[in-house]
């Protein structure tokens, strides 16, 4: 069910054992490497490593399938958009033009463009497993603690993690309200005209907002009454202390970043050019 998407997946793996902050830092370093480099060799290497880490985490592809499919659809859209707006980007970057076939006007298919878009896609594939792993292997209780550790104000960190936590509740509430409104004859199915459907959805959104506001009031009172916001800092019950493996992980991540940057910029360009 959709309710389960992007929630914590309990396993016993070395990835789970890492502190949340470590995973967040490693993820940020990892993404910087993937973002800065267009070097195909580097990206391929990073991709292989992320697949291996994903395996180690014992999270099954199926368990994150829904989100994965969503991201892939978005990726496809992105690729199409790149081609529509900039069909000659590859030619501009790599300086040569190996035309495979013409379509119309400036729209032709070149090896360079294909290679460029392949690299873009590869970047996605490097970042996706790391991002998913950070989210599904960090216990929600630890989530705020790890954000706080890398310098995010704890009030903001807490709000972010509370928001994540209430998503399933709000989904459940939405369902209940939708059902009771359907019982009164409000049609949300395809049988209804689009405009009416939009209007009908508002009969669910209105009560949903009211009950969410009610809930916010209760929670914020409960938090304040127990001293939330009193001090500039706070400690965390479920924070994992840094152990050896955490330091090692961060060091490896930094080394990988350095290495990938060296390889990428060794010839003075972000791009690896197989066409010369």
């Amino acid at each position: 069910m959709a309710v389960e998407m992007l929630s914590y997946i309990e396993r016993k793996s070395p990835v789970h054992a890492l502190s949340g902050a470590t995973k967040l830092i490693a993820f940020l370093i990892w993404s910087s490497a993937a973002m800065l480099s267009y070097d195909t060799r580097v990206l391929l290497a990073l991709f292989v490593i992320s697949i291996v880490i994903f395996k180690i985490s014992q999270v099954k592809i199926r368990e994150v399938g829904f989100v994965l499919a969503f991201i892939l659809a978005f990726l496809l859209l992105n690729n199409v958009a790149i081609y529509i707006f900039s069909p000659q980007e590859g030619v501009k970057i790599y300086g040569t033009s190996h035309i495979l076939f013409e379509i119309v006007g400036r729209y032709n298919v070149t090896l360079e463009q294909l290679f460029y878009q392949f690299n873009v896609t590869l970047k996605y594939f490097v970042v996706i497993p790391a991002a998913l792993l950070f989210i599904v292997t960090t216990h929600p209780s630890e989530f705020a603690a790890s954000l706080n550790k890398i310098g995010v104000n704890y009030k903001i960190a807490y709000s972010v993690s509370l928001a994540f936590r209430y998503i399933p509740d709000i989904q459940r509430e939405f369902r209940t309200i939708a059902q009771s409104q359907q019982a009164r004859g409000i049609d949300l199915s395809r049988n209804e005209k689009v405009w009416n459907r939009v209007k009908n959805v508002s009969t669910i959104v209105f009560p949903l907002i009211l009950s969410s506001l009610e809930r916010i009031d209760v929670v914020s009172n409960a938090m304040e009454l127990r001293g939330f916001g009193k001090n500039k800092k706070r400690s965390w019950y479920s924070e994992k202390t840094f152990k050896r493996q955490d330091y090692i992980t961060i060091i490896i991540a930094v080394l990988l970043l350095a290495l990938s940057l060296i390889i990428t910029f060794q010839d003075g360009s972000r791009f690896y050019n197989p066409f010369i």
């Binding site: 209940t176 059902q179 009771s180 409000i186 669910i204 019950y237 924070e239």
Partner: protein, 570 residues
């Protein structure tokens, strides 16, 4: 000499958004180590008093204060919310809403985290507190997996960890099933004895709180204190009746039997009550009271057969549920929290699909009908009116369902007006819904369903969180509907409601039907009471103590007698 811990002196408070003050000239002193109960109908100002004690007033809810409130020798106006929260620990009404941590340990630790207690020390303290509330075996358990009673323990733990001198409970019994409520009251008592704190309980379910002893009861009405005395003295007086607070049923029975209660009889608890002098009167009343005849109902209107349901294969929620409801019946469905009562009603309305089994409406199979088709016959009123209301004006809200069905405008108007009259909402028809009280909102939601002319009305906890006046209002209204031929099914935790209004009750435990019998039989059957987390009625205990030969019959006669009295009273 007892030491003062809370002292209101000529204290008045007016919310900024309101014209009239909510608290008027309050003078109240609470001493260290006392256990004080504050009762009063909704809108009497009892919650406002709680907010003043824990500092939400004036630090979160703004308004004008007159007079003084001194807590632990300090004027609260000069403190701030955080230092006050170190003195007063508050357990809020709805345990689900106040959980912040995800696991038991994390939630208990929340206050410590905010005090920057180092992790190691924090873990030790959490273990100590969890022992106090008997949750040490569940420290790493997720909050969602706990039962209602365990949740109550955790929220108490989260407050105890701060070692506050005053514990404040804001309607701790709302949303709890009867047996769990009883446990909660015992827990509060136990913790108070162990930690030597001052306890203030705000609640309107008097009989349930009196399960354990309290030192004093403060009665509030319309922003003023109308009584401040011991439980014994209060029960002897007429204050409860005049401020619309439900008396314990056994007290009512004693009054019906023309017994003149005195403080010396110690009527606060049935166990302490000196009953020897009045046995004869009770016996006499029992013999004179007649059993009302109920009219026979024969045509079944809705029936379910062998219903099975579960959200996934591992967790089956309903097992082989079968029953049949007759035309014009009023039935309550009871059982502990999370046992499948709500799921059952959702299945009947078609919100969920049963795995197997069938649902019959007047003998016709409607198992495969859609939500909308079923809604023509079965109306469902949800517990929280805010889950249903989607329009600003009462008229628009009630007419919504008809307009959606494409009913002609003329007919919409006449049907809505007729329904509004039935529901006593006609004078308010052009009012915005936001101007209504909770009880009136509830009526609007009932009206918005009733206007569709369902033959069966299902209500989820129709009286939860209502004081006695609103409770009576809603229930008398439902009774009237029932007499006009609407079959009514109610999911409830309220034993009084079950006894007073629904002749028949279905008890559910662990997804199975445990008993399907008269309400009186169910509430006097120890085995069912235990398994469905119900509570024996004090009437039964009274009858036993008064040596009545047939205590069950005593309960039935009381109910019948009480109904007659109420009819005259209206």
């Amino acid at each position: 000499m007892k030491k003062t811990i809370i002292q209101f002196k000529d204290f008045s408070f007016k919310y900024r958004s309101q014209v009239e003050p909510t608290l008027v000239n309050i003078n109240l002193t609470i001493y260290e180590g006392e256990k004080v109960l504050i009762v009063g109908p909704s809108g009497s100002g009892k919650s406002t008093i709680a907010h003043c004690i824990n500092g939400l007033i004036p630090f979160s809810y703004k308004g004008d204060i007159e007079g003084s409130l001194i807590i632990k020798e300090k004027e609260t106006k000069d403190l701030d919310l955080f230092s006050l929260s170190k003195i007063v620990g508050t357990v809020l009404q709805d345990p689900d809403g106040q959980f912040i941590g995800l696991s038991v340990g994390e939630d208990i630790a929340f206050a410590l985290e905010n005090d920057c207690v180092p992790q190691e020390k924090m873990k030790k303290q959490v273990v100590n507190v969890s022992k106090l509330v008997e949750m040490e075996a569940h420290i790493d358990t997720s909050i969602h997996e706990l039962s209602g009673g365990q949740k109550q323990r955790v929220s108490l733990g989260g407050v105890l960890v701060d070692q506050a001198a005053i514990l404040l409970f804001d309607e701790p019994l709302a949303n709890l099933d009867p047996a769990t409520g009883q446990l909660a009251i015992t827990l509060i008592d136990q913790v108070q004895k162990e930690t030597d704190t001052t306890v203030v309980i705000i609640e309107h379910r008097l009989e349930d709180v009196l399960h354990e002893s309290v030192d004093r009861i403060i009665v509030m009405d319309e922003g003023r204190i109308v009584s401040d005395t011991t439980p014994d003295a209060l029960l002897v007086s007429n204050v409860l009746e005049s401020s619309y607070i439900r008396e314990p049923l056994y007290i009512k029975a004693l009054k019906y039997a023309n017994i003149r209660l005195t403080e010396e009889m110690r009527p606060a608890h049935l166990t302490t009550l000196d009953i020897d002098g009045c046995k004869a009167n009770i016996q006499e009343w029992f013999e004179s009271a007649e059993l009302a005849m109920s009219r026979e109902k024969t045509t079944p209107v809705i029936a379910v057969r062998n219903l099975n349901f579960g959200y996934n294969r591992e967790k089956q929620i309903l097992h082989d549920v079968s029953f049949s409801i007759k035309q014009g019946e009023m039935v309550s469905i009871v059982g502990r929290n999370g046992t499948g009562k709500s799921t059952l009603s959702r299945l009947i309305c078609g919100f969920e699909k049963a795995q197997s089994g069938e649902i019959l409406y007047q003998g016709e199979d409607i198992t495969n009908d859609t939500i909308r088709q079923r809604a023509e016959r079965i109306g469902m009123v949800m517990q929280n009116p805010n889950h249903m209301i989607s329009k600003h004006m009462i008229y628009d809200e009630v007419s919504l369902g008809l307009i959606m069905r494409g009913v002609p405008e003329e007919e919409v108007k006449s049907r809505v007006e007729k329904t509004l009259k039935v529901c006593g909402l006609y004078p308010f028809r052009n009012w915005p819904i936001s101007a209504l009280s909770f009880g009136q909102k509830k009526r609007v939601t009932i009206a918005s369903i009733l206007v569709l002319n369902p033959k069966i009305l299902i209500l989820d906890e129709p009286t939860a969180g209502q004081d006695f006046r609103h409770y009576t209002e809603i229930m008398e209204f439902l009774l009237e509907l029932n007499q006009q031929g609407v079959t009514i099914l109610m999911i409830t935790h309220d034993m009084h409601l079950m006894l007073e209004y629904t002749p028949r009750a279905i008890a559910i435990a662990n997804g199975r039907i445990l008993a399907d019998d008269s309400a009186v039989n169910i509430l006097t059957n120890e085995e069912v009471i235990e398994q469905a987390n119900l509570k024996q009625t004090s009437l039964f205990d009274l009858a036993v103590r008064a040596d009545i030969v047939d205590p069950k019959e005593f309960v039935s006669r009381f109910i019948a007698f009480d109904k007659e009295v109420r009819k005259k009273w209206q």
